[in-house]
Symmetry: C2
Subunit: 228 residues, 2 copies
Amino acid sequence: MRQLFELCGEDRDICFSPYVWRTRMMLLHKGLEFERVPLWFLEKEPLAPANSKTVPVLNDNGTWVMDSFKIARYLDETYPEKPLFGSETALNQAAVLNTWTTKNILMPIFPMLVADIHAVLDAENAAYFRKSREGFLGKTLEEAQSPRDEMLPKFGKSLQDLRTILQETPYLSGQAPAWFDYAVFGTLMWPRVISNFEILAEDDVLYAWREKMLDLFDGHARKAKLAY
Amino acid sequence: MRQLFELCGEDRDICFSPYVWRTRMMLLHKGLEFERVPLWFLEKEPLAPANSKTVPVLNDNGTWVMDSFKIARYLDETYPEKPLFGSETALNQAAVLNTWTTKNILMPIFPMLVADIHAVLDAENAAYFRKSREGFLGKTLEEAQSPRDEMLPKFGKSLQDLRTILQETPYLSGQAPAWFDYAVFGTLMWPRVISNFEILAEDDVLYAWREKMLDLFDGHARKAKLAY
């Protein structure tokens, strides 16, 4: 039995965690079947066997692995076919790019959709989310999100190196999608599922790349239930 | 004839450009002979055939290439043996890591040694350097450099992912040094050549790694002339 523990809204079909989306795409890349276990923010008990308080958590027939990067490494070690990294060099470099993706994509996106995340939660989880995130942001969720139009240009600039790559190869990892594609794309599924606020322009090469990623695995990500 | 155009102090044996050091190490990695052409900041004429105003510039038998990352790619395309990148995935990822290295290593180091750079230049180049860099920094070189002890902890933290890598493999690129090692190490040769201010602690795994890098190619980098 293979289970992927996910984060969900009040509607358990609204799966929006950027790190879970990375992992989901990597499991699909490997061609591994899995059962989704969608959890609310406050449902921590099912993650205890992995000694984790955050998703994603993978239960692979009794082997529990937490953290999307550790899961990616585990998958390549355990199921070497269809590698996610492809070489030790690429794996080593990915350790830096994993943090890069968080700092340059996830963190800048966060304030742009933080009130929209709140809106998909039930009352109890919404209260928890508001209290913890407003403490982190130092302002209300609505204050944080309202200037999102003005945040887009700086965010767009931080993606410039990705565009440079896509001018030469169809995917971030080269001729075919692999770890870096799923790391970036998974992060972009977060705003896509949660919010109708579009963070990429239609003429952006990243927009076209995201379309291709949405089509992978029989359009798996394109079929994701949206919150709006 | 193969020429590498470098940046130097009044003493033309003091070669300190971080980007030049990357390139020098990559040429050694490839086992390619080259003649060094050390230039002062204000000596731009020799770079004109490459349409460049900055070093490194490589003249490879009449093929002129500028920019350390472009030179790295050129070297792998032209001399495929002993690859610097090793795979298209690693090359694509390197495009992001190249900027990462500038932002997380080069830029934080810059204020820590900016007055020491000034000290190795002749009067005319020193005046140019002071004027342009003080404009960029918004303060005097001495004011920028003086709190360098306090800058070290934050700088050290930004290298954490590199330490994680080195806990598992001897080099940043894996079992043997390659592009990412030279990119980071070349940047660290800048403070080493210019300043007696030590930016790594002796018990830092990066310190031990740098020692190994200094030993490569018959201790080439270790033999570099120091400014102090």
